[in-house]
């Protein structure tokens, strides 16, 4: 994956997110400001990038997955706003800027998160580059990713029971709910847009699940080792909470991350192991694999 190609995709995503976020004359001005602040802040745009690359990998055009990918980024942005609230992680810094509730107040932060989640469904419903059945399938996939066995449940478990989560299996399950589900939804959105079905689609989902595991370990490594400025968000938030890093130690966690990456790539059909998803994954993790 050439660096320029990724930057092109990134530009495409940022331009579309900007167009999808409401301007001040389309809603309450404070809501527009808070939504734009949260959604357009510098971020890796991993989830929409995965959606675009998956569409290409399975024979479609990246553009068909653009709106679904942006919808998933909206959900991700919403989840970050909520995680940072005083009644949750009580974080101060996110994506290199004050958390949304610190800048706009708690009421605006909660409403901006709700509006972003809600708008994600509108964006998918209007994504007419996809047939009605594919859009409906994505609504269902996203609802399952967010809901009672997804992000929301994972966040509650993290808040109320993290210290009681014992062993690697429990932590992997928590990571699936907190991170894996949106990776899977993003890759699925792209794969469906690209025309994948059956075993090919299942392989794409398995790839995304392992990639999500690897990425969560990476996130825990950053929390344990980076400075606040390097990470652009509060670090050391997990101190005292079990993570795979605290459970296994830095070296074994890095090895586990590499194992998950290998599993991710092995999940793809042999014909897809040199495709856009694999190349992107290699590029994303390269700096951290060398450190290990």
């Amino acid at each position: 994956m050439r660096r320029e190609r990724l930057e092109d995709l990134r530009g495409l995503i940022d331009t579309r997110l900007d167009a999808l976020a409401p301007m001040a004359d389309q809603t309450h001005p404070l809501l527009s400001q808070a939504v734009r602040y949260a959604l357009l802040a510098p971020g890796k745009r991993l989830r929409p990038t995965l959606a675009l690359l998956a569409a290409e990998q399975f024979g479609g055009k990246a553009a068909a997955a653009l709106d679904p990918g942006c919808a998933i980024e909206m959900v991700h942005a919403a989840s970050l706003i909520l995680d940072d609230l005083p009644c949750m992680d009580d974080a101060t810094l996110r994506r290199g800027q004050p958390a949304v509730h610190r800048r706009f107040g708690e009421d605006v932060a909660v409403l901006a998160a709700v509006a972003l989640l809600n708008e994600a469904y509108g964006v998918i419903a209007r994504a007419d580059a996809l047939p009605a059945k594919a859009r409906l399938r994505l609504v269902r996939t996203l609802s399952e990713a967010v809901g009672f066995d997804g992000l929301v449940a994972g966040q509650l478990k993290d808040l109320r029971e993290r210290r009681g989560v014992a062993g690697a299996a429990g932590l992997h399950e928590l990571n699936r709910q907190k991170t894996g589900v949106l990776f899977i939804a993003a890759v699925e959105a792209g794969a469906v847009a690209g025309g994948a079905t059956g075993a090919t689609l299942a392989a794409a989902q398995a790839f995304a699940e392992h990639l999500g595991s690897a990425f969560q370990i990476l996130d825990d490594l950053v929390d344990a080792t980076a400075t606040r400025a390097q990470a652009g968000k509060d670090v050391g938030q997990d101190a005292g909470k079990p993570t795979l890093v605290s459970l296994l130690g830095l070296d074994a966690a890095r090895a586990e991350m590499s194992d998950r990456l290998s599993l991710a790539l092995q999940s793809l059909d042999p014909g897809h192991r040199d495709g856009p998803l694999a190349t992107f994954t290699d590029a994303l993790f390269a700096p951290y694999r060398q450190a290990a």
Copy 2:
């Protein structure tokens, strides 16, 4: 509308809401408890009732609108949880019981509200009594009802600017965002399920918008005149905030409510003015019209 008929519909709705709400083994147990507490608490179930009656009025079966109607009730329940939060109205009582955050904590309350909104979309996507295109249309309708020009924007305006909203026109617009949008979505869901299109559908939407206006005035009258025990929620919450009641006085507000009801009924096609929607509306407001 015979009283028994309404009680039958109410039973159908409550049974379905109970089945749609997650049990403790399907999610985090606290999330299950909070969602069930909020969603299954005694309520009027106005929105799903309107959906079922609209389906019948336009020639369909009530059952086709059951899941979309329940989805809208989920959104309504979510909005009540959020409105009651300490960073918003800071209410203590709702539907005759402690507000969700008082009972389960703020973190659980926020997550339960998000989960309910999110699940509404899953319920609509899975509502296979409706064709894919109708379901997709409802996803779009609901997203517009909740989002940047709907409930969320209305709640923010109410919190941050209510005291600055001047005149009846501004208050009617606020009431449309806070109440009208879900009435319209409910009637539209039922009308679409019943096969309404074109001018008939537009008439149903106009009916719902006027009905929503009338209902919001009723709600303001209750806030101004009922005791906390009668209302089953905190009252006097609007003291100091302009409402149509404070602006016009009790008598003129009751007259305005009656005018809105007349407009609602006149919006329906002549052939539908004795149908289920009109009969239900008459029954719902009868006690309050006599008081006026």
